[in-house]
Symmetry: C2
Subunit: 327 residues, 2 copies
């Protein structure tokens, strides 16, 4: 194939990428052009312990590579949540996996002879989108993953920006309301407290308890604890005024932070992904409005606010790219 | 000398750096090791027109290089305020210079045969501090210049980060109070509105008008329009409670933004310079407190908050380094 890599007489044709999540392990095998040849999804079951999770990863890699000659595999890339050391391939702290200081790279090296690379999942999703997704030819971007939390990845001058301890990208813990709601991280008023899925659900619960009229209570049989961002979304789709206002609020907070970052970082693109991003323009119209109103003319005009297109493959494709660039 | 550069039989021994400000032009000649051999300061007088300013730059360069063999000059670097195109060496908009779309590089090339490089002054000051100042061996840093405005420069992975249109670094126009005071940029609640020199003076005026007790009115003979950040500083030095509180407020706003950026960018260092930074711990204690309280443990522990040490030479030294790295 056009993209194959030749090293020391060997032809490297394939790359394996793993998206290690708290719920599932999503693994793909690709060729050097980024074409996905096979994929599998296995449950992570972190409650069954680290050994089990490692075995699940190995199983998934063996599955996607079973029709591939092992000597033609360039390497394995893994995207993991949490605080990591990307050089050493150690996962320092990943609450979703119940992991502390797991030497992921070393443990997997016992099973495979090809090189193994580990990086943060949001970084790799950004890297994947830049390779094959919505950010082709874009050199500077902010990637925002909106789900249970608000995570982020940064690409500056074409490369993943990790910071000095690999912790860069924590956009969810940028303060947007200095004396705002307490956040799990210990701070107050973090963006995540307002613009994540639970944040949106909490905004709704709060307003409903304060007596704002809405169809939401009826949708959850008055059991307000059942309100999720999905319920709020469904209410918004039915033109419920409160639900629409809540998405506008979440988008406004997000937009205030991003307008500041547009001024500071002059990026070409902001990419949204994650369950909450599926609300689309219910949120993003407010984001665009804040950027237009608050950011300086040149960087505001430059930046494009878009949704990611690689879906569940983004992290694994970014992981493959990490191998491609480093082997 | 150890650091000399040899190219095509030529020995390049010297570099010229210019800090082009709205009030003065500060020009230095250095050797390849960064030692300053001569310097001069000339008035800019932008009101006398672009031609005059260009001639002043030329005059200053000729002055610092008069004892240097011209063929041994590697190049000329210039730091300018405003919005620029660093590749083309064009100053698009610099209100302090009354400039719009001035082809600075091209115009200076008529006078000199060595290569000329142009960049934003805050970028170059950051670059200078990283080469010879407080940030040696630091690869990721945020540089904050606190004066009439709040400007910034970013070094990521050892390199100047400019963004896609060379506008990155505008930390003064990051929103800190969403519905706050109007800013000259058109936004509301920009950091600059609270933590710049005029911002600090305005905070004082506002509190005094509201009747807060302070020695400040007496210091300016009750002419409140005479209040500057320097007056507030002098009052703070005399333990005036209001003045101390105002510096705490300015530092708190600055700290809220920087705590967010510590989470997002995981930088090793934040460097402060400028007239307002001379207030030192009156401001920076609040900055450190906010970072400690608001940022995540790993990046908060990592980051050092310091003052720049190169003073008025920072921009010109950074300009010299730009030449050194590009010739």
């Amino acid at each position: 194939m056009a993209g194959d890599k030749r090293t020391r007489g060997q032809v490297l044709k394939y790359i394996i990428g793993v998206d290690l999540g708290g719920t599932k392990i999503h693994t793909i095998a690709i060729n050097y052009d980024g074409k996905i040849l096979s994929r599998i999804e296995l449950p992570t079951c972190p409650e069954r312990g680290t050994d089990f999770v490692i075995r699940q990863i190995v199983k998934s890699v063996n599955h996607v590579s079973k029709r591939i000659c092992k000597s033609e595999i360039a390497g394995l890339g893994i995207g993991t949540p949490g605080a990591i050391n990307s050089k050493k391939g150690i996962v320092h702290f990943a609450p979703n996996l119940h992991w502390r200081n797991v030497s992921l790279k070393k443990r997997l090296e016992k099973y495979f002879s090809f090189p193994i690379f580990v990086d943060n999942d949001a970084n790799l999703a950004a890297y994947g989108e830049q390779w094959l997704g919505s950010a082709k030819n874009v050199k500077n971007l902010i990637y925002v993953a909106m789900g249970t939390g608000v995570g982020g990845g940064l690409i500056f001058d074409g490369k993943i920006y990790r910071g000095v301890d690999d912790t860069a990208g924590e956009i969810g813990h940028v303060t947007v309301v200095p004396e705002g709601l307490p956040c799990g991280c210990g701070n107050r008023g973090c963006l995540e407290t307002y613009s994540s899925g639970p944040g949106i659900a909490n905004l709704a619960k709060d307003k409903i308890r304060k007596g704002y009229p809405s169809i939401i209570p009826k949708m959850v049989n008055n059991r307000l604890e059942k309100i999720t961002s999905l319920v709020v979304y469904q209410a918004a789709k039915r033109k419920d005024k409160l639900a629409l206002e809540i998405f506008r609020t979440a988008g406004t907070y997000l937009g205030i932070i991003l307008a500041g970052l547009v001024n500071l970082l002059n990026v070409e693109m902001i990419i949204f992904t994650g369950k909450v991003a599926k609300a689309g323009n219910l949120i993003f119209n407010s984001v665009r409005k804040e950027i237009k109103q608050r950011a300086l003319a040149v960087p505001a005009k430059r930046v494009r606010v878009v949704c990611g297109v690689l879906g569940q493959d983004a992290v694994a494709l970014g992981a493959c790219r990490l191998v491609k660039e480093n082997v």
